[in-house]
């Protein structure tokens, strides 16, 4: 078969070159006309694995405390990279990884949920920067993505799309996973291809409950078997992006129990132990130094003894969760091996996308979204709330959405400073990479220290597959990829280091790398602090980025960034600062702090829609797409038909007991339960049962004032008659859940009111004709504008920590 022109995609279909007479007589078939595009000869399968929210010093393969036997196996048979870099935040790294371009240049300076009106922060990939999965697909690969996506903006995660922002639009034939930044591992609101499919049926199987990491591996293996059942040769590209180790840290007790007592020594000692193992393994240079603890993290010795078991348990669960991820990736690799294809499968396995996450704040949290909703809770409060939901032994189970302490994350980033969101330091920007390809890699177990970055992965895969970067896709001229191939370093330790210059920027924390020098420019804000005082210094016209403190490191001599040379080399500081500004302009990084624009009055136009109608069969409306009921008055009205003998069940419910609301009928009575992030739970019930026949019920929340977290009065109505009331002192200001959906007529997944937990999903036994949200029942224009601003602040806050 002739080789097609791959410079323009899609590749033009083969034009019939046979002969077609009036009859078969003399006619000549052209069998290429019924073929399909095939990749270049020898193009390998590719498995790209991305672990979430993990640090350089987590996996045992790189000296960490977590057993990762599969990662170690792959490393021993492949090569390890100890200077691989990421973008210090989830979506930016993923966008860079899948497009081969700097994250801001493809609209992902911040997370996928959050779009602003600046080019670097739209969360929309420009059509001249098409992701490489599409290139592989159009060149004859089977492509699939499993697990976390986090590249679709809020508001576009439903059945009306647009789907060019979904995995299928990025070039994946098949997708199974979740669209957001994090998900429960027990009851995620799943997506498959172009549909939100909600909670898996197995969630309701108490003997064999659903567990997302297991299901991801199952689905991947099933997909591999299916494509091989159809085509024995077609290479595949599988992108396996775990929800682990992002919060909520969910894992069964058998995995967490393996680490019982393993972290009683605390985070300071853990860092020292990890550092020693890293030296012994040779994954860091012998002269590397362990960086010191910033005052933002408490010393373990200062933690009250009575709270140490609580903190230790947080890390035990994280470790078990992470080891489970290793186990499930191992299952996928074993399946490829069983197919007899591991020899010619290029496995790239990145352990972490932005360093370990410090978003649990110092205390850690029983519910990861308490931080995003700005609920200040002391460690004692966190402990008590975990007791409320089963105690620390239940940390990791379905009753909580836990996140560990920022100090554990810092320890997970050993030997570096800081972590996720801090683009100025290696704790947030350097993660382990292991590459496995038995057919080509002969120097097994080798270490590579080439400066590499997520944007290099795409060019490397295309290089290895022999697929050129197309000049045009769908008729649109493509920007070149910003990354460079490091394919030759797989087999040649002396291969040249091509990636010599790189900017980093995440929420104002920025750095400039060039030829071994690294200029760090960190803002003073602690990543998990979003108070007005913390934001205020970045007010437009007040903040001068060039006045931020700078640190200068020379990485060839200082692997971990332990020695600040800024004072000795002011000319290098100046040079790199100027270079950063040039790069920032070139790649749409500007304006700095664009993700904070909402705090400074730059909010999108006021939405016009104030009424949302849902018919009775609507389910799995993702949490970022529910009607905007936060911080002001609203009503929920339902038109029902109650059969003879009465009805029970959920009329409408959003999310679960850790944040959400449910309007339901129990014991014949209209009931409303509202969980303020599991910290406060409010319940109101009608004083009389619902009548039979057609009836209209309403829940009316009259806010004290349109302001964040406003309290207010709830009144329940039956056919305009008040039948119950109650007060809610606090409401959720930002977001009920990072993942759980809203359902009409049932409460899918974890339930809001634990009183009907044993009847879940507690489907409504009458008929729901329509549920209407009126989110703007009272306010003046000015109030509406203020509320909109507050909501957008909240959205911004969520975006800073998703």
């Amino acid at each position: 078969m002739s080789q097609p022109d791959r410079s323009k995609l899609p590749i033009r279909q083969h034009r019939f070159a046979g002969t077609a007479n009036r009859t078969l007589g003399g006619s000549q078939p052209d069998w290429e006309a019924i073929g399909h595009v095939e990749p270049p000869d020898g193009a390998p399968n590719v498995l790209l694995v991305l672990i979430d929210d993990a640090g350089f010093g987590n996996a045992g393969t790189f000296g960490g405390p977590i057993d990762t036997p599969n990662y170690t196996r792959i490393a021993r048979e492949g090569v390890r990279y100890n200077r691989f870099h990421v973008a210090a935040l989830c979506s930016p790294t993923r966008a860079a990884l899948l497009t081969g371009r700097n994250s801001h240049a493809v609209g992902f300076g911040s997370v996928g949920e959050f779009s602003t009106g600046f080019a670097g922060y739209t969360a929309f990939v420009p059509d001249d920067c098409v992701p490489f999965p599409r290139i592989l697909k159009d060149n004859g690969y089977s492509t699939a993505a499993f697990g976390k996506w986090h590249l679709t903006p809020d508001g576009q995660q439903g059945p009306s799309g647009p789907f060019d922002r979904w995995p299928v639009g990025w070039g994946f034939d098949y997708f199974y996973g979740f669209l957001g930044g994090g998900a429960s591992q027990w009851d995620p609101c799943l997506a498959e291809n172009q549909k939100i499919i909600g909670t898996a049926a197995e969630f309701y199987d108490e003997e064999n409950p659903y567990y997302l990491p297991d299901a991801m591996a199952d689905k991947t293996i099933e997909w591999l078997h299916a494509i091989r059942g159809q085509d024995a040769k077609k290479p595949f590209f599988a992108y396996f992006a775990t929800g682990c180790s992002h919060a909520p840290h969910h894992v069964s007790e058998s995995w967490a129990a393996k680490y019982k007592g393993k972290f009683d020594q605390g985070w300071d000692k853990l860092r020292e132990e990890t550092f020693a193992r890293q030296k012994a393994l040779g994954v860091i240079p012998a002269d590397a130094e362990l960086t010191s603890r910033d005052d933002a993290f408490p010393a373990w010795d200062d933690v009250p003894d009575k709270l140490k078991p609580f903190y230790a348990r947080q890390m035990e669960v994280y470790a078990g969760f992470s080891e489970n991820a290793d186990y499930n990736v191992g299952r996928v690799i074993d399946a490829i091996d069983e197919l007899g294809e591991l020899e010619n499968t290029l496995v790239l396995w990145i352990w972490g996308d932005n360093g370990a996450s410090m978003e649990g704040t110092i205390t850690g949290s029983f519910n990861e979204l308490t931080m995003q909703n700005g609920i200040p809770l002391s460690d004692e409060m966190q402990l008590q709330l975990s007791e409320r939901y089963g105690g620390i032994d239940a940390w990791g189970g379905p009753m909580m959405d836990p996140h560990y302490s920022a100090a554990w994350a810092w320890a997970g980033n050993t030997p570096f400073q800081w972590g996720k969101q801090v683009g100025s330091h290696l704790g947030g920007t350097r993660n382990p990479l292991v590459v496995h390809w038995p057919e080509r890699i002969t120097e097994t177990g080798a270490l590579r220290s080439h400066f590499t970055h997520a944007i290099d992965v795409g060019p490397t895969i295309l290089d290895i597959a022999g697929i050129p970067m197309p000049t045009h896709i769908d008729g649109i001229e493509q920007q070149p990829m910003h990354g460079v191939t490091f394919a030759d370093s797989l087999t040649d330790a002396n291969a040249p280091e091509r990636h010599t210059q790189q900017y980093f920027e995440t929420i104002g924390n920025r750095s400039m790398y060039k030829d071994g020098w690294w200029l760090s420019m960190k803002t003073a804000r602690i990543p998990w602090v979003l108070t007005p005082d913390a934001i205020k210094p970045y007010t437009p016209g007040v903040w001068d980025p060039d006045q931020d403190p700078t640190e200068l490191y020379y990485l060839p001599d200082d692997f971990s960034q332990a020695h600040d040379l800024a004072a000795q080399h002011p000319e290098k500081v100046k040079e790199l600062r100027e270079l950063f500004w040039q790069e920032a302009e070139k790649y749409n990084v500007l304006p700095l702090m664009a993700p904070l624009a909402g705090f400074f009055g730059m909010v999108p136009p006021l939405p016009e829609t104030a009424r949302y109608e849902f018919r009775g069969d609507v389910q799995n409306v993702l949490s970022g797409m529910i009607p905007r009921i936060y911080n002001h008055s609203y009503t929920i009205t339902a038109e029902l038909v109650i059969p003879s003998g009465g009805a029970e069940g959920v009329i409408v419910a959003e999310a679960d007991h850790l944040g959400g609301f449910s309007l339901f009928v129990d014991d014949g009575k209209l009931t409303h339960t509202y969980s303020m992030m599991g910290v406060f739970v409010f319940r109101q019930q009608a004083e009389e049962p619902l009548p039979e026949g057609e009836v209209t019920v309403r829940m009316e929340f009259a806010a004290d004032a349109p302001k964040p977290a406003t309290g207010g009065e709830v009144t329940l109505f039956i056919d305009e008659r008040p039948v119950g009331k109650g007060r809610m002192d606090h409401t959720v200001p930002i977001r009920f859940s990072g993942y759980a959906g809203m359902d009409i007529g049932r409460d899918n997944g974890g339930v809001v009111d634990l009183g009907y937990e044993n009847r879940k999903p507690f489907a409504f036994t009458g008929t729901i004709k329509k549920v209407t949200f009126d989110v703007n029942p009272h306010p003046s224009t000015e109030e509406a504008r203020e509320t909109h601003k507050a909501v957008h602040h909240g959205h911004t806050a969520h975006a800073l920590s998703a």
């Binding site: 700005g374 002391s378 409060m381 008590q384 007005p532 705090f599 964040p708 634990l754 909240g794």
Partner: protein, 171 residues
């Protein structure tokens, strides 16, 4: 028992009943002489529970249950993520109730205690404060009231004082 005494009342608010029980047991075992201790909790399904140790009742006097009071709870965090993340941890102040029986206490407490929360009320002679107060280590919100007088009068006064302090710290 003396007719005149200085009575202290400690009110503690908790986010879990486990924590309240831990303090409750610690108070009972602290070695100090208590005039009464009440723990009131509400589980996640909204069911109320009341436990009461009332020395004064045993002694034939009018005790906590008879005076009756529900807890000042809890610590509504100031939830102002982006405009003012305050630290206002504070309860809706403890509201004294004046009922005569435990059931009534429970009923009233049920209206004031949040789902999943709990409260502890302990009364003791002021002379026992050094033994009692250190035993309460887990309250996320705590106030101690004090009053002098005939014991029932003093008890009422101490409760009122504790509630006032609880309310003041919410502000």
């Amino acid at each position: 028992m003396k007719l005149h005494d200085t009575i202290d009342v400690l009110i503690g608010g908790y986010l879990s009943k486990d924590a309240a029980e831990e303090d409750y047991n610690a108070v009972l075992e602290c070695g100090g002489h208590l005039q009464g201790a009440v723990i009131v909790g509400k589980d996640l399904e909204g069911n109320l529970s009341v436990e009461q140790t009332d020395h004064m009742v045993r002694e034939g006097a009018e005790g906590l249950g008879a005076i009756g009071f529900a807890v000042g709870l809890i610590a509504p965090p100031a939830v102002l993520a982006t405009t003012a993340v305050g630290a206002a941890i504070g309860a809706g102040a403890g509201e004294l109730l004046h009922h005569e029986v435990k059931e009534k206490l429970g009923q009233q407490a049920g209206e004031t205690i949040p789902i999943g929360g709990a409260g502890l009320i302990v009364s003791y002679s002021h002379s026992e404060a050094e033994k009692v107060e250190p035993a309460v280590t887990r309250a996320v919100k705590k106030a101690i009231g004090e009053a002098e007088g005939r014991h029932v009068q003093a008890l009422k006064g101490a409760i009122a004082d504790a509630q006032q302090k609880m309310a003041a710290s919410d502000a």
